[in-house]
């Protein structure tokens, strides 16, 4: 079984500032890692994922995350945030044993203010 910890329930930041949303996971097997974003009154959208290969993965809107196996982390970063990045961000994990069930963290609300 896996678990995901997102320590920060809320992260306030000013526009154009950098941000890091933290995610740590626990698993006894190798995993795949995901970040989903949820805008108000909308479903979850996949932001980026790590399956294999390069440990640094990027999204089309400037976010990036780095898989760190030794620290069991998959932190999400953006060098300069926009007002439109205000949303809830969920980190999720699935195991590599052939099952695609996602285990989600509790989410981090990113609040970007002018």
């Amino acid at each position: 079984a896996q678990s995901v910890t997102q320590l920060d329930s809320q992260v306030p930041v000013f526009e154009e500032a950098p941000v890091e949303l933290r995610c740590n996971y626990s698993s006894s097997v190798s995993v795949y890692l995901f970040w989903y974003v949820q805008y108000p009154n909308q479903g979850l959208q996949l932001l980026l994922k790590y399956l294999s290969g390069s440990t640094l993965v990027e999204s089309i809107n400037g976010f990036e995350a780095e898989f760190n196996k030794s620290q069991t982390s998959f932190h999400l970063r953006k060098p300069s945030v926009h007002i439109s990045d205000t949303a809830e961000y969920f980190c999720a994990v699935s195991d590599q044993a052939g099952y695609s069930t996602l285990t989600f963290g509790k989410g981090t609300m990113l609040l970007v203010s002018p």
């Binding site: 329930s9 989903y36 959208q45 996949l46 399956l51 695609s100 069930t101 996602l102 989410g107």
Partner: protein, 117 residues
């Protein structure tokens, strides 16, 4: 391409009443998921279908919850009778499972927000 469609978007009922949610997955997706999302929490899997077969329903409270996916396309999730604690958002997701990579990207619908009074 249309995304995952769910209806209704909002539902308010009194406790002990039945309620049903409908999900239409992305065309061609063989795997369908129902998740429960409580306020301030991440989604939790209720049931996963591969085609018509429910392959993981270990977290589905079977005394009051039921689900079906006839013909391996649309799916319905039902609660009967509803309790106050069932107030939450019910999310449906779908994916195309298969190929060399043992995981698949799940695409989520907007969810149904249920309020039980």
């Amino acid at each position: 391409e249309a995304g995952v469609v769910q209806s209704p978007r909002y539902k308010i009922i009194e406790k002990k009443q039945p309620v049903a949610f409908w999900c239409n997955p992305i065309s061609g997706h063989n795997t369908l998921y129902w998740y429960l999302q409580n306020l301030g929490q991440g989604p939790e899997l209720l049931i996963r279908y591969e085609n018509e077969e429910a392959v993981d329903d270990s977290q589905l409270p079977k005394d009051r919850f039921s689900a079906e996916r006839l013909k391996g396309v649309d799916s319905t999730l039902k609660i009967q009778p509803a309790e106050l604690g069932d107030s939450a958002v019910y999310l449906c997701a779908s994916s195309l499972r298969g190929g060399p990579i043992l995981t698949d990207t799940q695409y989520f619908g907007p969810g149904t927000r249920l309020t039980v009074l």
